[in-house]
C-alpha cells in the first residue's frame, strides 16, 4: 500500500511531498514556500545558513514526475520577504523556468508576498500574482485577510458544489509521542467540513501544533476540523481530531 499518498475524497489526493493533487483538473497545489527565508533574515542582520535546505524546485519537480499535472498552483507566501537579493531572483527564475516547462504555473499572493510583483519584474519573470484561483468546484487561496462574513459566504458557495476551500497560511503541525521518551512535531494537512489546510512546503516552517493553537484564518475556524493527516518519515498518517 502506497502510504505516500492518500485519497481524502474522490479526486482529492494528499501527498507526503506536502502537496494536494486535484485529479480531475490535473492540478497540483502547494503552499507557503517562503523562498529566500534565510536571505531575508540575513538582510536583517541574522546570519542564517543560506546554502542549505532550499530545495523547493527540486521537490516540485519530483511531484511533477509523479503526477501528470498541467497546472501548479503556489498558494501564497511564495517568498518570505521580497528582499532585493540576486540569490532570491535566481531562485525564483529557477523555479519558474523548471516548473513552467512542465506545467502552467499560477501564483497566489500571501501576506508575505506584498512586494512579490516587483521582485518578479526585477527578476525578469513574466507571471501574474492573483488573489485566488478556482479549480473545478474548489476555491484556492492563501487564507489571510478575509473577514468572517466573506469567509462564510465563500464556504457556503463551495460546500454545495462538493468543493473545498483550500488554503495555506497556517503552517499546521501536530505533535506525536510514543508515550515514553520520544516526541516529534510533524507537519500535517488539516481536513474539515468544506476546507483543507495544506502544510507549509518550506523546511523553514516550524509549524504550530494544531492541538494548542487556534487557526488564524476564518476559513479554518468557521467549520469543524475532522482530522489531521501527519507527514511522518515521508509517509502519511491520518489522525482523527475530536474537537476543535
Amino acid at each position: 500500500m502506497d502510504r505516500t499518498r492518500l485519497e481524502l475524497e474522490p479526486g482529492v489526493w494528499l501527498d507526503a511531498g506536502r502537496a494536494v493533487w486535484l485529479e480531475e483538473w490535473r492540478t497540483l497545489a502547494v503552499a507557503d514556500l517562503h523562498l529566500g527565508y534565510a536571505w531575508a533574515h540575513r538582510a536583517e542582520g541574522q546570519l542564517l545558513p543560506v546554502d542549505t535546505g532550499e530545495d523547493s524546485t527540486e521537490r516540485l519537480l519530483r511531484l511533477l514526475a509523479k503526477y501528470p499535472a498541467e497546472e501548479v498552483v503556489l498558494l501564497g507566501d511564495i517568498v518570505h520577504r521580497a528582499v532585493d537579493v540576486p540569490a532570491l531572483h535566481t531562485e525564483l527564475r529557477w523555479l519558474a523556468l523548471n516548473v513552467g516547462e512542465r506545467a502552467r504555473l499560477r501564483l497566489i499572493g500571501g501576506n508575505h508576498d506584498w512586494e512579490l510583483a516587483e521582485t518578479l519584474a526585477t527578476a525578469n519573470i513574466v507571471l501574474e500574482v492573483d488573489d485566488h484561483a478556482v479549480v473545478g468546484p474548489h476555491l484556492l487561496l492563501h487564507g489571510d485577510g478575509a473577514d468572517e462574513i466573506t469567509a462564510e459566504a465563500r464556504l457556503s458557495e463551495t460546500g454545495p458544489r462538493r468543493g473545498r476551500v483550500i488554503l495555506g497560511h497556517e503552517h499546521p503541525a501536530i505533535g506525536l509521542s510514543d508515550g515514553v521518551a520520544s516526541h516529534v512535531k510533524c507537519p500535517c494537512f488539516v481536513a474539515g467540513d468544506g476546507f483543507l489546510v495544506l502544510p507549509a512546503f518550506s523546511h523553514w516552517a516550524a509549524g504550530g501544533d494544531i492541538r494548542s493553537y487556534r487557526f488564524m484564518s476564518p476559513y479554518a475556524r468557521l467549520r469543524p476540523s475532522t482530522h489531521a493527516v501527519a507527514i511522518v518519515a515521508g509517509k502519511l498518517l491520518p489522525i482523527p481530531l475530536t474537537k476543535r
Partner: protein, 844 residues
C-alpha cells in the same frame, strides 16, 4: 615588605582608625599589590576583601592627585558578575573619598552596567571615571568602541570579584577574552582576583592571568571559622504515623528562625524557595511579615526591597535559591540553613560563609536532611568540608559562540591579522587550546559563509570582511546592532508577572501557558491569581489564603560533586564490611564515622541493614543492578547504582538506553539521579547477565552519545543559546517573533535545517560541546565506564524497591503541581514503603 609600608602612612592610619587591625586577607594582599604582582585572593565574606583590593589603588590615586598628576583616564577597572555587587561597592568606595575630599571628590568612581542611562554614558565618555565598576558584558561593549579605547589605554589595575562564579561558565570565557584584549591594549596590566573558597585555586589563577601570566595565590579562607552541622527532623523512626516530615521540617525550621536574629535559608531550586516561604508563613503567622523570598526571577525592585530590609535587620528570615550566595552585603545573618544537601562542599562552605558578617564571628551553617540519602550525603559533605576537600572546577573549552562574538567585537576597533588575533585569543585561558581550523571556521561563518559562497554572491550579509591577511568588522548597521547584542545570558521565553501597580517578577512562558484564568500560583512567596495573559505579561491580583500551584522554573538543578560521591562510596564500603564481619555496635561506629549523633546513626543503620538484607550495599568495587517487577505497570525497573552524579548518569543512561534499544528494540525510560539511574522497560526487554558487556562497553561510546542527544530538547536548548551568543539570531528577535506565535520561527527550525544539511556548522558543534559538558557530563560517564571495564556487574532480583534505590525511584514520580504534594505524596509513599520494610518484604 611590612604591611604598614605597602600603603602610604596616611592611608594606613586612616584605615586603622576606621577599621582597626587589618584582616589576614588585607595583610596578605597589600604588600603584593604594592609590588605590582598579580594575585588571586581566596577569602570568605566579611574578611575585608574590598579594602584588601582597593586600599592600595585608592592610595595611589590620592597620591597622584596630591602631586597634580592625576589624569582624566580610567586607572582601575573592577568587574563583577552581579550588578548588585557593583552598586554596593560604589557606596563603599565613596565613603573614604568623601571623608577625604568632601562632597565632590576629584577621584571619580562610577558604575557602568546595562542600567546606566545614555546621558550618564555620555558624561562618562567626556569625563571618564578613574575607577570604573562594571560587568563582563559592559566591559566588552566599551572594548568594542574605538573612541573608548582611548580611555582604556592606561588601565593599571584590573580587579575581578567573585571570580569563582565566572571561571566555570561561558560568561567567564567571555570575560577572559576581554581581559586579554585589555591587557594587550594597555601593554601592562596588574590583575587582582577575589574569590570565595573553591579549588583548584590554581585553575582559577590561570583563568585570571591568562595562559602565560604569573599569579600568586593567597588562600586565607581558613581565617574565618565555619561550623557546619547536620540536622534532620527524621528522628528515631523516620516515618512516624502522625504527621509528615515535610510539615515537621517546616516547624523545626521555624523554631530555628525563632531562636536566631536573622536566618538565611537556602533551597536548591526556586520553586522550593517559594514553597518554603509560603509554608513558613502559614505555620508561623506572627512571623509572616518578616519572612521573605528572594531569587533571580523576582523583579529587581522586589529583590532590592528584601535586600535592604535584610541589611537593616528588619527580617527574621529570607528564603532564597542561589541568589544570595554571592557577596552582596546583607547585613548580619547569624544562621544559614541549607534545605537538603547543597550538592557540594564548596557550595556548603560558600553558603555557610554568608553567616556571621565579620572576621571575628563564627559562621554557622546547618544542613537540613529530609530523607535518608540526604542524610548520608549531608554528613559526608560536612566531613569533607572540615577536611577542606573541595570540589573541582570544570571550565568550558573554547566555546565557539563566545569566540564569534569577540571576533566581531575585536574587528570593530581595528583590522586584525589572522595570526595576531589567534595568538591573542589563545592567551585567554579557556581558549588556550583553540584549534586553528576551528578559528578559521568561525571566521568563515562570520564572513557570511565559506569562500565559494562568497564568490558566488556579491553580498552575503556577513558581519566581518575577510581579506588576505585578516579581518575587520563591517561598519554601520552591523556594528550598531552588535553593540545591542553583547553578552552570553540567554533569553528564555519569559513572561512578566505584574499587578496593576507593581512588577513582581518573571515566570517561564511554559508555565503560564499551562494555567487558566483564575488559577492561583506563587510568586515572591505570595499567592496570586491569574487575571489576564498577553504576549509578554501576566496580570495578577493578590490571592492570600488560596492554595497555589508553584511555578516550576527550569533552573539548573546542581549535580552531586565527585568528592562527596567518593566519600559516600567509602562510607558504604566500610559499613558493608562491618555487616559482613558481624561487627557489634555498628550504630556507635556510624555516629563516630559521620559525626552525626546517635539518632541519625540509628536511622542510617536501620536503612542500610534493610538494604543489606533485601539486596546488598553497593560500593565502588562493582556495579549493582537491581531488577524489580512492577506488576501494576507491567514493566521492569532496573536500578543501576553508579554513584557518579546526575549529569554523568544522564550521559550514561542515554547511551545504555540507546544500546538496549538497538539490541532489543522498543524504548526505555531512563531517570538519571545523583546516585544512579533507573531504566524502565517492557517485560519482553528483560536483561540477562550476558547483556552487560555490550551495554557497558566503551567502544562507540562517543558516537552513541552523539546519536542519543541528536534530537533531544536539551541539544536544541543549547543550540538556541549558541545561536544567540554566536550572532545568528538576535535576542530581541525572539520577542518580536513571539508575537507571531503561530508561526514560531524559532531556533528549533534553524536547528532542524542544520541538523539535516550542515551538522558541522560551528554553532552546532558548540551546542554539542555545551550539552556534553553542562547538563550531561560525558567525561564523567566515560571515566566511569573505563573503571568499570575491570569490575564485575551484579544483577539482583528484588521483591520491592530497596532503601538505597528509593530516592531514584521516587524521582521517577512526576512532581505534582500542587504545593502540598511534593511533601505529602512523597511522604505517603515513603510511609507505605517503610511499612513494608518493617514488616518484611513478603508481607503487604
Amino acid at each position: 615588605m611590612p604591611v604598614e609600608s605597602s600603603v602610604s602612612p596616611s592611608a594606613f592610619a586612616w584605615f586603622a582608625d576606621r577599621y582597626g587591625t587589618p584582616t589576614p586577607a588585607q595583610k596578605a594582599a597589600w604588600p603584593r599589590i604594592a609590588r605590582g604582582e598579580n594575585i588571586l585572593l581566596a577569602s570568605p565574606t566579611g574578611t575585608g576583601k574590598t579594602f584588601a583590593a582597593f586600599l592600595g589603588v585608592l592610595d595611589e590615586l590620592v597620591q597622584l592627585h596630591a602631586r597634580g598628576e592625576l589624569r582624566d583616564t580610567i586607572h582601575c577597572v573592577y568587574v563583577s558578575p552581579l550588578r548588585a555587587l557593583s552598586y554596593d561597592l560604589e557606596k563603599n568606595l565613596h565613603q573614604p573619598l568623601r571623608e577625604l575630599y568632601g562632597d565632590k571628590p576629584p577621584i571619580r568612581v562610577q558604575l557602568r552596567t546595562g542600567d546606566t542611562t545614555s546621558s550618564e554614558r555620555a558624561r562618562q565618555y567626556t569625563k571618564p571615571p578613574h575607577i570604573l565598576l562594571t560587568t563582563p558584558e559592559s566591559l566588552c561593549v566599551l572594548l568594542s568602541q574605538e573612541r573608548w579605547l582611548v580611555h582604556l589605554s592606561r588601565v593599571r589595575w584590573l580587579i575581578v570579584d567573585e571570580i569563582h562564579a565566572l571561571a566555570e561558565n561561558k560568561r567567564g570565557a567571555h570575560l577572559a577574552l576581554s581581559m586579554e584584549r585589555l591587557a594587550h591594549h594597555c601593554g601592562k596590566l596588574q590583575r587582582i582576583g577575589l574569590s570565595a573558597t573553591i579549588a583548584p585555586l590554581d585553575e582559577v589563577a590561570r583563568f585570571l592571568v591568562g595562559t602565560h601570566g604569573t599569579c600568586t595565590t593567597l588562600d586565607v579562607s581558613s581565617s574565618k571559622k565555619v561550623k557546619l552541622s547536620v540536622h534532620t527532623p527524621l528522628r528515631k523512626n523516620p516515618y512516624p504515623e502522625a504527621g509528615y516530615t515535610g510539615q515537621r521540617m517546616i516547624r523545626e525550621l521555624g523554631e530555628l528562625i525563632r531562636k536566631h536574629q536573622t536566618t538565611l535559608v537556602f533551597c536548591n531550586v526556586r520553586s522550593g524557595a517559594e514553597a518554603t516561604t509560603y509554608w513558613l508563613r502559614e505555620n508561623f503567622p506572627d512571623l509572616a511579615d518578616v519572612i521573605e523570598c528572594h531569587h533571580a526571577s523576582l523583579e529587581r525592585d522586589v529583590r532590592r526591597d528584601v535586600e535592604d530590609r535584610l541589611k537593616r535587620g528588619e527580617l527574621r528570615a529570607v528564603v532564597c535559591s542561589t541568589s544570595l550566595e554571592l557577596g552582596i552585603d546583607i547585613g548580619s545573618v547569624d544562621l544559614v540553613v541549607m534545605m537538603s544537601t547543597p550538592k557540594g562542599v564548596s557550595k556548603a562552605l560558600q553558603r555557610a560563609g554568608r553567616a556571621g558578617h565579620n572576621i571575628r564571628s563564627i559562621s554557622r551553617g546547618i544542613l537540613m536532611a529530609t530523607n535518608i540519602s540526604d542524610l548520608v550525603e549531608s554528613c559526608a559533605t560536612v566531613l569533607l568540608s572540615r577536611a577542606r576537600q573541595l570540589d573541582n572546577v570544570r571550565m568550558p573549552e573554547s566555546p565557539l559562540d563566545v569566540l564569534a562574538q569577540h571576533v566581531v567585537s575585536m574587528g570593530c576597533t581595528e583590522h586584525w591579522s589572522r595570526a595576531g588575533a589567534l595568538a591573542l585569543i589563545r592567551e585567554a585561558y579557556p581558549f588556550r587550546d583553540l584549534d586553528a581550523g576551528m578559528f578559521d571556521d568561525v571566521l568563515d561563518y562570520l564572513a557570511g559563509g565559506g569562500a565559494s559562497l562568497r564568490q558566488r554572491y556579491s553580498e552575503v550579509f556577513g558581519k566581518i570582511v575577510l581579506d588576505a591577511d585578516g579581518f575587520r568588522t563591517r561598519e554601520g548597521r552591523v556594528r550598531r546592532e552588535f553593540l545591542q547584542n553583547i553578552g552570553v545570558i540567554p533569553n528564555v521565553g519569559q513572561v512578566q508577572v505584574r499587578t496593576k501597580t507593581r512588577l513582581l517578577g518573571s515566570v517561564e512562558e511554559m508555565f503560564i501557558r499551562q494555567l487558566q484564568i483564575g488559577d492561583v500560583f506563587m510568586i515572591a512567596g505570595r499567592p496570586v491569581r491569574l487575571e489576564k495573559v498577553t504576549q509578554m505579561e501576566a496580570w495578577v491580583t493578590k490571592a492570600d489564603g488560596a492554595l497555589p500551584t508553584v511555578p516550576r522554573w527550569n533552573a539548573n538543578k546542581m549535580p552531586l560533586s565527585n568528592r562527596v560521591a567518593q566519600e559516600i562510596n567509602a562510607f558504604r564500603k566500610e559499613l558493608r564490611t562491618a555487616f559482613e564481619e558481624g561487627q557489634k555496635d555498628v550504630d556507635k561506629w556510624i555516629a563516630k564515622r559521620l559525626d552525626c549523633g546517635k539518632a541519625n546513626a540509628e536511622i542510617i543503620l536501620k536503612t542500610h541493614l534493610a538494604q543489606h538484607e533485601l539486596s546488598e550495599i553497593p560500593t565502588a568495587d562493582f556495579l549493582l543492578v537491581e531488577e524489580l517487577e512492577d506488576e501494576e505497570q507491567g514493566a521492569l525497573h532496573y536500578f543501576f547504582h553508579s554513584l557518579i552524579g546526575r549529569t554523568s548518569n544522564d550521559a550514561l543512561a542515554r547511551v545504555i538506553t540507546r544500546r538496549l534499544s538497538e539490541a532489543r528494540g522498543g524504548n526505555a525510560i531512563a531517570t538519571p539521579h545523583d546516585y544512579g539511574f533507573v531504566l524502565t522497560v517492557a517485560k519482553r526487554q528483560r536483561f540477562v547477565e550476558a547483556d552487560f558487556p555490550r551495554l557497558l562497553s566503551l567502544e562507540g561510546f562517543d558516537d552513541a552519545l552523539d546519536e542519543a542527544i541528536r534530537q533531544s530538547d536539551m541539544l536544541k536548548y543549547h543550540f538556541r543559546n549558541a545561536a544567540q551568543t554566536g550572532l545568528m539570531v538576535y535576542r530581541n528577535y525572539f520577542d518580536r517573533q513571539k508575537s507571531v506565535r503561530k508561526l514560531q520561527w524559532s531556533a528549533e527550525v534553524i536547528f532542524n535545517v542544520l541538523q539535516q544539511h550542515e551538522p558541522e556548522h560551528v554553532l552546532m558543534r558548540e551546542a554539542r560541546r555545551d550539552a556534553l559538558q553542562t547538563f550531561i557530563d560525558a567525561e564523567g560517564a566515560r571515566e566511569f565506564l573505563i573503571a568499570q571495564q575491570s569490575k564485575p556487574v551484579r544483577l539482583r532480583r528484588v521483591p520491592m524497591v530497596p532503601p538505597l534505590s528509593f530516592a531514584m525511584y521516587a524521582t521517577k514520580i512526576k512532581e505534582a503541581l500542587l504545593v502540598e504534594d511534593p511533601y505529602e505524596t512523597m511522604e505517603r509513599l515513603y510511609h507505605q514503603w517503610w511499612e513494608k520494610i518493617e514488616n518484611g518484604p513478603h508481607s503487604s
